[in-house]
Amino acid sequence: MPQIDQLLETFSSQIFWLLVFFGITFVVIGRGMVPKVMGTVALRDKQIADDLAAAQGARDDADAQEETWRERENENRANAQALIANAKAKAAATSAKKLAAAQKRLDTKLSKAATAIDEARSAAMAEVEDVAAEATQDIVARLAGAKVDKRAARSAVKKALANG
């Protein structure tokens, strides 16, 4: 077994060169290069975490914006609804006013017409009374030969009309 047979002649060389080359490995690769490689990995992990956080933030932001948009939209809809209701009410009120005015006009026309009719009737009545009083005077004068003055005749006619 050369490992034992050559032990005395080679152990110093083996140990020396192992320390040299393993030392180079440790200092140059282990201490020099490995931290940089791991730094790159850490940097990437951090970037991925940051990107994920940013995406989450953007998502939350979008959700919040959607929420405010929805609120605004609801508000606008409510406003529009109120506007329509208002306009409806106003239109109803004006049409009611117009109707009332028309009604009033019709009522005054009607009442005017009624008074005109009443006047005409009372005028006609007065005429009838006059005619009746003259007729009474005439009838009395012809039948009884008595002269009845106009006033008495009229009151008599009035009495008769009121009774009849």
Binding site: Q6, S12, F26, V34, V37
Partner: protein, 262 residues
């Protein structure tokens, strides 16, 4: 070794040969640049190239960057699962350890032997190498443990709820199991790597000898052995990954003991 040509010596692959600098030494200890050192160098260069390909630092990673990030993420997750938040500071060490062993194990399995004059060498099949790695891990455990908890680190050897009478015995047993850790850590990797490579070489000698002896042995010995080699090569790739993982996992578990004392 070269005495009988055509015979496969299953141990030759573990032979260490100086390539140059045979006369170099530090304080009397020879530090020749061997084939073992060469494969360590190749491991470092390939590992550097692999990780460098993953350093483009793109936001959307390509395949290569993804592969490197998968490995760092794997070690990071393992340390976080075993140690917790404090485990992060050990990522450079455990990543280096895991990748160094993984690349060494896999490179040792590369079929570079088909190029004449080249041989793959698996330096993790030498306990001098795995021993040093285990000692480094164990030293980190001791340093962290004593730096963090001081003398209270010894309470690691007395589990909660131990009866007073049992404390001396339990302490000794726990201390022994603690002290055995670097050895088990080193031997596990060394044995797993060596056994697999020896097995492949033994089977390859069956294939070569079987074909050489004629049609009968070819059908009975060589072909089944070759089929078995293919399967075991696949298994060895799995073992290469598993042993690197076990080494790193046990290191992280031991560091957890040092950080948290049970």
């Amino acid at each position: 070794m070269a005495a009988d040509e055509g015979k496969v010596d299953p141990m030759k692959q573990f032979q260490i040969e100086p390539l140059f600098g045979s006369s170099w030494d530090i304080a009397g200890f020879n530090i020749a640049f061997t084939n073992s050192a060469l494969w360590m160098a190749i491991t470092v260069v390939l590992l550097w190239a692999f990780v460098y390909g993953g350093m483009k630092r793109e936001l959307v990673p390509g395949r290569w960057q993804m592969a490197v990030e998968t490995f760092t993420g794997f070690i990071d997750d393992m340390l976080e699962a075993n140690i917790g938040k404090e485990g992060r500071k050990y990522v450079p060490y455990v990543f280096s350890l895991f990748m160094f062993i993984l690349f060494a194990n896999l490179l040792g399995l590369m079929p570079v032997g088909i190029i004449p004059g080249f041989h793959a060498f698996t330096f993790t099949s030498h306990f001098t190498v795995t021993g040093v790695l285990a000692v480094i891990s164990f030293s980190i455990v001791l340093i962290v443990g004593f730096a963090k908890h001081g003398i209270k680190f010894f309470t690691l050897f007395v589990p909660h709820g131990t009866p007073l009478l049992m404390i001396p015995a339990i302490f000794l047993i726990e201390l022994f199991s603690f002290m055995i850790r670097p050895f088990s850590l080193a031997l596990r990797l060394f044995v797993a790597m060596m056994a697999g490579h020896v097995l492949l070489k033994v089977l390859s000698s069956f294939v070569i000898d079987g074909f050489n002896y004629g049609i009968g042995t070819s059908l009975i010995v060589a072909v089944p052995s070759f089929a078995l080699m293919i399967g075991i090569s696949a298994l060895e790739i799995l073992v290469a990954g598993i042993q690197a993982y076990v080494f790193a996992l046990l290191t992280s578990l031991y560091i957890n003991d040092a950080e948290h004392l049970h």
